[in-house]
Point group: D2
Chain length 405, copies 4
C-alpha cells in the first residue's frame, strides 16, 4: 500500500462522517459567530430559559429537569454518578463496546459496587441477564441500572423501554440511567414513556454543535437522590445548577456561544419535527447499510433490530487493517471516517450518519469509503455500495433494510 501520509489532500471540503462531532448546519455556525456577553445580564434568561423548555421536548419529558454543563458527554456521565449515588452503591451495567465499557469503568473509579455484564461486542443490553440479576436482588441493593442506548463504537442500538418493563415487572426501584450521547435528537428516545430516570447526552452529536456541552435530563425521583449521595462534586453539581438555573443563570461562566448555537439547533429539530428527524436518520442509515451489504461486508451489529441509525461499524476482511482504510480516506480523499476502538481497533471502520445530513452526503461517504477500501486492497466493486444506497433513496421508504431482505 502506498504511503499516503506524506501529502494530505486539503482540497475541497473534508467529508466528516465520524459519529460526532457532526457536521454543523450553517444556521448554527452563524449563531456561533457571536461576541462575548455578560452571563449575569438581567435578561440572560431570555436566552437560556427557553433552552431548558425545548430540550425537554427533545428528551420527550414533561417532568424531568435538564442540566447543561460546559463539558463533554464524559462529564455528563460523571454528573449522573457523582450526584445520585454513594460510595459502595450497587449498580448494574453492561459492556458491549468502548463507551459502555468506559461508563462502567467510571462507576468503579467512583467507588460504586459494579455488577458488570460482559456482552459480545456487536450485541446490546442483555435484557435477560438484567432480568435475572434484578429479580435475584430481592433487597433492592442495586441502586442504579445503567444502559447505553446507542453504543457508538459498534453501531448497536438497544431497547431501553424493555429495561423499564423489567424493572416495573419486578417492582424494582433502581434508577434507570441511560447513555444517549449518540442517540438523543436522532433516534427514537422517550424519557417519560420509557421511564428513564437519567439521560446523558452531548452537544456534538444529534444537537449538531461543537463539543463542549453535556446535556443531562434527570427525573424527579432520581433528583431526590442528590440529597443522600455522598460523592463529592461541585463543577457537576445538580444542586448548584438548579439554584442558578431557576433565573436562567449558571453557577459559573457558561459557554454562551454554544448556548446561542443550541438555540438554533433546537429550532431546527423542532421545525423539522422530531419524528421526521428520526425517520430521516433511519432512511439514511438504511442506505448506508444497503451499501455495506452490497460490498459483501458485514456490519458489527449482530442482528437487524440492533442496527444503529446514527453510526455503522463495518467489519473489514481478515488481513486488512481498518486503520489503513482510515488513513487512506483521510490523507488521499479528505474523508474522515470513524476508527475502530479498543477491541475493534484494526477490525472495523465506522461511518457516522448522524445530525445534519442528507442523501448526497451519505452517498459521498459511501463513494469515498469505496475508494479507500479499494486502495487498501479490499475486494469490492467500485460504485456498488453507492448504487445500492441510491436504489433505496430514490424510494420513499422509511423501512429498515436488513441483510436478509
Amino acid at each position: 500500500m502506498q504511503d499516503v501520509t506524506q501529502k494530505k489532500n486539503t482540497n475541497g471540503y473534508n467529508g466528516l462522517f465520524i459519529p460526532g462531532p457532526t457536521n454543523i448546519p450553517d444556521r448554527v455556525r452563524q449563531a456561533l459567530n457571536v461576541p462575548m456577553e455578560d452571563m449575569r445580564a438581567p435578561d440572560f434568561g431570555d436566552l437560556t430559559l427557553p433552552l431548558f423548555t425545548d430540550l425537554k421536548k427533545i428528551l420527550r419529558t414533561n417532568s424531568a429537569e435538564v442540566f447543561i454543563f460546559p463539558s463533554s458527554g464524559t462529564g455528563g456521565w460523571e454528573s449522573c454518578i457523582a450526584n445520585l449515588f454513594s460510595t459502595g452503591d450497587q449498580v448494574l451495567i453492561s459492556c458491549f463496546g468502548q463507551f459502555s465499557m468506559l461508563w462502567a469503568d467510571m462507576c468503579i473509579r467512583f467507588g460504586l459496587d459494579v455488577e458488570r455484564c460482559e456482552v459480545q461486542w456487536g450485541l446490546g443490553v442483555p435484557h435477560e441477564d438484567y432480568r435475572k440479576i434484578l429479580s435475584a436482588d430481592k433487597d433492592h441493593k442495586i441502586k442504579g441500572v445503567f444502559a447505553c442506548h446507542n453504543e457508538t463504537a459498534t453501531g448497536v442500538v438497544s431497547d431501553i423501554s424493555q429495561i423499564r418493563d423489567i424493572l416495573d415487572d419486578l417492582g424494582h426501584p433502581a434508577l434507570l440511567c441511560v447513555d444517549g450521547v449518540s442517540s438523543v435528537g436522532s433516534l427514537d428516545f422517550r424519557m417519560d414513556d420509557w421511564g428513564v430516570d437519567v439521560i446523558v447526552s452531548g452537544s456534538q452529536k444529534g444537537f449538531m454543535l461543537p463539543a463542549g456541552l453535556a446535556i443531562v435530563g434527570v427525573g424527579q425521583r432520581a433528583l431526590k437522590e442528590r440529597m443522600v449521595s455522598n460523592l463529592p462534586r461541585t463543577f457537576l453539581s445538580f444542586d448548584d445548577m438548579l439554584k442558578a438555573n431557576a433565573t436562567g443563570h449558571f453557577p459559573y461562566t457558561p459557554a454562551t456561544h454554544l448556548l446561542h448555537g443550541l438555540r438554533v439547533s433546537l429550532d431546527m429539530l423542532l421545525e423539522e419535527k422530531l419524528d421526521n428527524v428520526i425517520t430521516r436518520h433511519n432512511r439514511l442509515a438504511s442506505a448506508v447499510r444497503a451499501g455495506v451489504f452490497a460490498w459483501g461486508l458485514e456490519v458489527c451489529a449482530k442482528q437487524p433490530d440492533l442496527y444503529s441509525d446514527t453510526v455503522t461499524a463495518i467489519v473489514v476482511p481478515e488481513g486488512v487493517d481498518s486503520a489503513d482504510v482510515l488513513k487512506m480516506a483521510y490523507y488521499r480523499y479528505n474523508l474522515s471516517l470513524g476508527a475502530g476502538l479498543s477491541k475493534l481497533a484494526g477490525k472495523v471502520f465506522r461511518i457516522g450518519h448522524i445530525g445534519n445530513l442528507n442523501e448526497i452526503m451519505v452517498l459521498q461517504a459511501l463513494a469515498g469509503s469505496e475508494m479507500a477500501m479499494y486502495d487498501c486492497g479490499i475486494s469490492i466493486d467500485l460504485g456498488s455500495g453507492v448504487a445500492a444506497a441510491q436504489e433505496l433513496l430514490v424510494q420513499n421508504t422509511t423501512k429498515r433494510v436488513t441483510k436478509a431482505a
Copy 2:
C-alpha cells in the same frame, strides 16, 4: 413526475455544483468574517499591494496591470470595452454560448462595429474564420479580437494561444481580449506567453470567493488605448484605478472584506501551486466526464480537445426537460446543478467542477445527479457514473478521458 417543489430538502449541506459561485474554502470563509475598516488608512496598502503582485502570478504575467473592481465579471467585460475602444471601432468576436453571446451584445451596445462569427454551440473559437477575417483586414480596421476562453454555458474551452499565433502570423495589431471568468485560476492560462492583451475574470469562480470582484489584467500595449478611447467611464475607469492603486488605495470604497478573502485564496492557489491546481481540475473533470459517458449520455462539447475542465454540460435525452432534473436535484436532494441557458434551456444541465473541490465532492455531484435523472425518468443505471469516475480517481492519471478511449 412528482411535484417536488412543495417541500425543499433543507437537511445537511447543499451540494453546490454550479460553475460559480463556487464552494468557498473554510480558510477564505474565515477571512471574510471581518469587521469593517478604513480604506484610506495609511497602511491599507500592506493588504492591497501584494494582492496585485500575486494576481499577476495567477494570470502569469510580468508586465500587465491588474485591476480589481467591486463588480461582477460583466463589469470586467465592460471595463475592457469602455476603457480601450471607441465608438465605431471594429472588433471580431465569436458566439458559441450564452456568455460569448452576451459579450458580443455588450460590444454592440457600446457602439462598436462588431464582426460576429456565429458558431455552433458546443464548438469554440473558430480559428480558421478568425484567420480569414483578420487576413482580409489589410487596413487593420479591426481593433480588437475577442475570445471566450471557457464558455461556461456549454463547457467548451478554446485554444487562445492559437489566436495569438494567427495575429502574429498576420502582423495584425488588434488587441486580444479574453474572457477568462471561468478559466483563470483553474485552467491553464498564460497571459504573457499567449500574448493576451486583456483578460477578464471574477472572484466567484477559480478564486473561490463570493461574487463581487471583477479581476482584469491589461497589458501595457492595451493600456495605452485608454488615452484615445472615447467611451465614457468612471466607475470602471482604468485611469482612476491606476492613480489610486499606486499607493494601494482605490478611487472609491472597495469591498474590503473580499480583499481579505482574496488574500487567502491567492495564498491557497500559490501554496498548492498553479500547475497542481490545473492538474487537479483536469483530473476531477475527467472523472465527471467518465461518469457522464458511463450513463450513456453526451456532453455538449463536440470533441475531446474542447472539453472544459471547470464545467460539463450534459445533454439530457429527447423528451426530458433538463429543468426538471435541476428542480428534482434541488428540492429533493439539496443539490444545486447548473441550468441550461438560452438555446440550451431544457436541453442540458451542467455540473460545475471548479475551485475548491476534491474527489468525494465530485462523486457526490455524480451520485446526486444520477438520482435526480432517475427520478425524472432518464434511463441510467444508478451508480454507473460514480463507478466510472471512481475507476479513474483511484488511478493517478492526469490524462483526459475521451469517450472513444
Copy 3:
C-alpha cells in the same frame, strides 16, 4: 511630534468612526457568514423579492423601482447618468465638497452639458441659484437637477424638498437626481413626498453592510427616460435588471452574501422603525457637535441647519495638519477617523456617526479624538468634549445642539 507610524496599536477593537464603511452589527455579520448558493435556484426570489419591497420602505416610496447593483455608490451615480440621460443633455449640479464635485465630473465624462454651481465648501445646495437658473431655462433644456443630500466630505446636509418646490413652482420637468449615499437609512429622506426621481445609495453607510452594493431608487417618470437615453450601459443597465428582477433574479451573478446581510439590516432598520433611527442619529450627532464646540473648535458646516447627522467635519486650528491627527489616532490609539479630502486635506478631520451606533461609541470617538489632538499640540482640555456630549446624552433630548445655544 513623535513618529507614531513605526508601531501600530493593534490591541483591542479598532474604533471605526469614518463615515463609511460603518460598523457592521453582529446580526448582520452573522448573516454574511454563509456558504455560496445558486443565484438561479427556483426559490432564490424568496430571499430577493422582499428585499425590494423593504428597500422601498427605507426610501419611503410606493411607486419607484429599486435596483441593487453589485458595485459601489459610484456605480450607483453612474447608473443614473448612463440609463436616463443622453450625450449633450443639460444638467444642473452644485459642487460643495469632494463627492458633489465627483458626481459633476462624472456627468462631464459622460458627455452631459453641465451647468455647475460652485459653492463654498461648508454650504449646501444653493437653492436660490437653482431657482434662477431653472427659471431662466424657459425651454426646459435642463433635463436633470442633481443634488447631494448629504455631502460626506464637509458634513453638510441640504434641503432636498426645497428643490422639488422650486421645480414645481416653475413647472420644470427636469428629473431630480439625489445622492443619498450617506443619508439614506440614517437621515430623514422621503422619495415620494419630496418628489425625488432618482436616489442613489450604497450598502456601506446607513445599511451597515460591507461595501459592494449600490442601491438605486428610480421613479416611474425617470424610468421612462431609459427608452431615449443614448448612453451605453450593460453592467449598470436598468432594463436588464428590471427584466431579471421581476422573478427575483439578476442579469449576472449578484453578491448573494451581501443580499443575506441586507435582509438583516433591513430587518433591523424596520424593527427600530425608521423615525427612531433618524432620531437616534440626530441625538448622537448632536452629542458629537456638543463635544466639538466644547473643544472650542468649529465644524466645517457653516450654519446649524446644514449640520449633518451622519458625519461631522472638524476644522483643526491653523498650523496643525489634520493628517497628523488622523495618524496619531490610528497608530497610537487604534482609532480610525475620516480624513480631510481634496480642498479640505490637512484642514479638517471627520467623525462618522452613522449606522450601527450608540452613546458609548460616540463618547469613545470623542475621547480618542481628544487624545490624538492633544498629542498633536492642539490646545484642548482633555475630557471637555466627552463631558459636553454626556451632558446632552443623559438628557432625553432629540433637539439639535447649535453653537449659539
Copy 4:
C-alpha cells in the same frame, strides 16, 4: 430613578467590561468559525501539541505539565483537588472574595480538612497568617496551600512569590496551588520562579476566548500526588489526559473550535510578548483607577499594592444600590459592567479591563459608567474620570497610579 428595563438599547456594539468573558479579538473570532473535524485524525497533534508548548510559555514554566479541560475555571479548581488530594487532607486557604470563598467551599465539599483564613474583602492573601499556621504545622499535615492570585470579585491581586518564600523558609512541603483564572496571560505570573505547584486558569479571561476551557498547569512534584490521591475523578483526570495528550489526543471529545481559537490567542500573546501584555494591562488599569479617584470614589482594594490590573471594583456611595448602576448601564447605554457579588452585592460595581483591550475601550467604559452613575443620582462630574484617565494615557507611563499620588 426611571425604569430602564422596559427598553433595552440594542444599537451599536455592547461595551463589554466585565472581568470575563472578555472581548474576543477578531483574529480569534475568525479562528473559531470552523467546521467540525475528527479529533482522532492522525495529524490532530499538529494542532494540539504546540498548544501545550506555548501554554507553558504563558505560564512561564519549563517543567510543568499543562492540561486543557473542556470545562470552566471551576472545573480547573476541581481537577486540582480531585487529582492531588485525598479525603481528610489538610489544606490552608484564605477567603477574601467570592471566588476565593468558592474554592474553599469546594475543598470542603471534597472532604478536605480546610484551614480557612477569613480576610476582610479588599485585602488579599494573609501572608503573616499563612506563615504562622505553616510554622505551627511541624508535622507537615498541611498538604496544600491555596491562594487566589487575583480575586475577581474585589479586584485584589496578591503576592504569590511571598507564599513560596514562606514555604521555603519553613522547609514546608505543602503544594502551592494558585487560582490564576483572572491573572494568567494578563498579570505577571511566573510558575517556575515562584515555585507554584498548580495553577488554574480559564479560556475566557486573559486568553480572550469564549468560556469552555480550563487550563491547568501542574508541576512534576504535584503530579506525583495523583498516584496517592483517593478522590474519584474521570472527566477531570490528569492521568487519562497525560496518556492521551502524549500524541496530541484527548481521552474524550475536546472542544476543537476552542483549540483553534487558543492557537490564535497564544500567537497574539506571544507576538505582543508577555511582558508587553502585562505592561499594557497595568497602563490601562492605572487609567481606570485614575478615573475612579477623579470621581471621588474608592476602589474595593484597600491599598495600592493590592490593586488588580485586570479588574477594578468601585464602591458606590451609601444609599445607592450598585445593581441600579449596572441596570442603567446595560439597558440605557448598552454597557455591561460587573456586578457586586455576594457580600459586595449592591455595594460595588466592577470594570473589567482584561484581555483584548486598548485606550479608547477603557475610556468608553469610564464614559459610560459616568452616565450610568449620574443617572442613578451619584454625584460625579461627567467627564471627570475620562479626563483623568486621558491625562495618564497621553503619557507613556507604565507606573501605577495611586490615590495618594
